[in-house]
Symmetry: C2
Subunit: 150 residues, 2 copies
DNA sequence: GTGTGTGCAAAGCTTTTGCAGACCC
DNA sequence: GGGTCTGCAAAAGCTTTGCACACAC
């Protein structure tokens, strides 16, 4: 059974890139924190535990590389930093996000909710869709419960 | 008949803010370029024609103020700059965008396509939606035509 | 005169780039 | 040895902040 890391390694090799120790450490951090939405700085701090010598520039370069390979998606919730989010293997489209405006939590929706909407857009606006970004801003179930108790 | 500017002026006054000449010039630039998605720098350069003394910091401060008042929305297409987009008066939700990955054009969809999707999310994920951001990345009709001719 | 608003310059952030050295086949 | 890759430091954005001055009531 091939592991996820090995598949990413093959993907790198197929484009003549190497899976260096620094790159591997970065990918492992991403895999271990799949649910979070880490900024480059976050990734850097976590990678330093595994590879203390690594530089921030290398993390940026690796994240850019992984974005190019579509292993991760670079996302932006409007707070001034880019975040990097592992793409689900085999996912045709990027997943959606729920950003809580009270506590800042970011939850994910893996289901594809936009199938019908995309058809409407492709036909109605004559636009050939390659990807999408959908983010809802509102109040998460945790904050709703908290507010109800008060 | 009250103009758009006057309504914005009232909105400012109701929050104890003034519509200074600089703020008015900035708002006018936004109104005159409603279809574009201007960055702060873009706005600054255009405002300078009307009010040459204005500083970039004032433009930033004004745009922040207008964002707070929900006159404009601060958006981000992942190119490293924030853009400011006039919110349609009375629109319950923010409109959607079509970003062309070939020519960079940004078109708008004013129709609300997410009514059903929002119901699904609110029920299924127990999330109280306040706003959304939906952007499609793909190829616009102009580039499709151009590609067909080649 | 008190408070808000402004312009300028400086500072703060995140992110990118230049470069010399390290590493690998 | 020729390529890729890396770490460090510097540079390059975009955006915010500090401060003294201007203006309005």
């Amino acid at each position: 059974m091939e592991t996820r890391i090995e598949r990413i390694k093959s993907q790198l090799h197929s484009q003549k890139y190497k899976l260096t120790p620094q790159r591997e450490a970065t990918v492992r951090v991403l895999l271990e924190n799949e649910k979070d939405h880490l900024s480059a700085e976050d990734v850097y701090l976590l990678v330093k535990d595994k590879a203390p010598e690594i530089g921030l520039a290398t993390v940026y370069r690796t994240l850019e590389l992984l974005t190019e390979l579509k292993v991760v998606d670079k996302i932006n919730f409007g707070d001034g930093v880019s975040r990097y989010d592992l793409r689900q293997e085999g996912a045709a489209h990027f997943h959606h996000h729920l950003v809580c405006i009270e506590c800042g939590a970011v939850d994910e929706i893996q289901e594809d909710l936009l199938g019908d909407v995309e058809k409407v857009v492709e036909k109605g606006w004559n636009f050939l869709i390659k990807d999408h970004r959908l983010t809802f801003h509102g109040i998460c179930y945790r904050c709703q419960e908290k507010n109800d108790k008060e």
